[in-house]
Symmetry: C3
Subunit: 144 residues, 3 copies
């Protein structure tokens, strides 16, 4: 989890898909939609190919003002631990810093993660990021 | 600790008293009052019955605008570890998100916790939450 | 790490140098300068004597409005672990609370830490704090 957020914050986004299994599911949604069981997502990817496309698109279309992100993950709870997988829940906050130095809360909420364990390799098989705020920049392209 | 904050953030407040021993002490106070040794508290409960009353009152009186909380606990320090108890200190931040999506820092500070261990059961025997800010909403009713 | 930030937040700054080895290197810089490999620092100390001088100067010159800090460290990644040292990377956020109760994001970013291990003693041999924002109060005197 630490490696995951450090990779994003360091803008090493090309490495982001490597944290996932080949057929992984990734979803970012609002708490409102999640609680109501609505399928609406802010971002949704299935399969590592789609993860890579996402990053390519981001690198090509990246015309927004440069800014950096700082993810802080709170205490992690192990929800379920099996021989081949572990499910966890954790809260997070992301601070966005603009090029002029202004810092603001960009996002906060929780993530539900399922890790797949094969020998020494641990990959994310499923990651659902649930945002507390509905006021999310729809141009949001960076992964969470 | 992770389970504790996730329960509050998920608004499963009826489960909140279950984290405590029958005769647990719970107190929320400002850093100013704590440092001066003043008994003044923002919230104070002794005994699980009082915890339950608190939640009932909250559910009945809950007329405020809906909003959600996100607690992030920082690195936890084990202050003392015995066979039947563990004392810890940790910092925390809480982001409040209003229904319109606005996020702001609701509270931050540290908590001093004493966990009672009986067999496989770990419960909070004492929890003191020390708020950095004196500017706390006196209508604050959610647990921290 | 938890003890380190709790000591600073509790304003027990005289104990701060004790977290370091005698010849430790400490540096606070902006992400911009770090990424460009520029030597410019917001703060830089080499050797424990310099750490102590820093705190003495701070205690003498302390004329600013009183405020308190709350450091929250996110998930910590062990970058390298040897018999005599451990290198870690972690993100952090600091909330500053003014005397009137106003809370704001004071700093966020990451730290690269090298711990030296000798028997039961663990000390910081090197600590580099990389701030996301360039908008840092140049009168900043507290350690991070």
């Amino acid at each position: 989890m630490a490696g995951y957020v450090h990779t994003i914050d360091a803008d090493r986004l090309e490495e982001w898909p490597d944290f996932f299994t080949d057929d992984a599911k990734y979803r970012v949604c609002t708490r409102e939609n999640f609680d109501l069981g609505l399928p609406l997502s802010v971002m949704s990817c299935t399969g590592r190919g789609m993860f890579r496309d996402r990053i390519s698109a981001l690198r090509t279309a990246n015309i927004f003002e440069p800014h950096v992100y700082c993810h802080v993950i709170g205490a992690l709870r192990i929800v379920e631990a099996g021989a081949a997988h572990v499910r966890t829940e954790s809260n997070f906050q992301v601070i966005r810093t603009m090029v002029d130095g202004t810092m603001s809360i960009f996002a906060c909420g929780r993530s539900l993660d399922t890790f797949s364990i094969k020998g020494d390799t641990v990959k994310l098989a499923e990651r659902t990021v649930i945002l507390d705020s509905r006021q999310i920049d729809t141009l949001l392209v960076i992964p969470l």
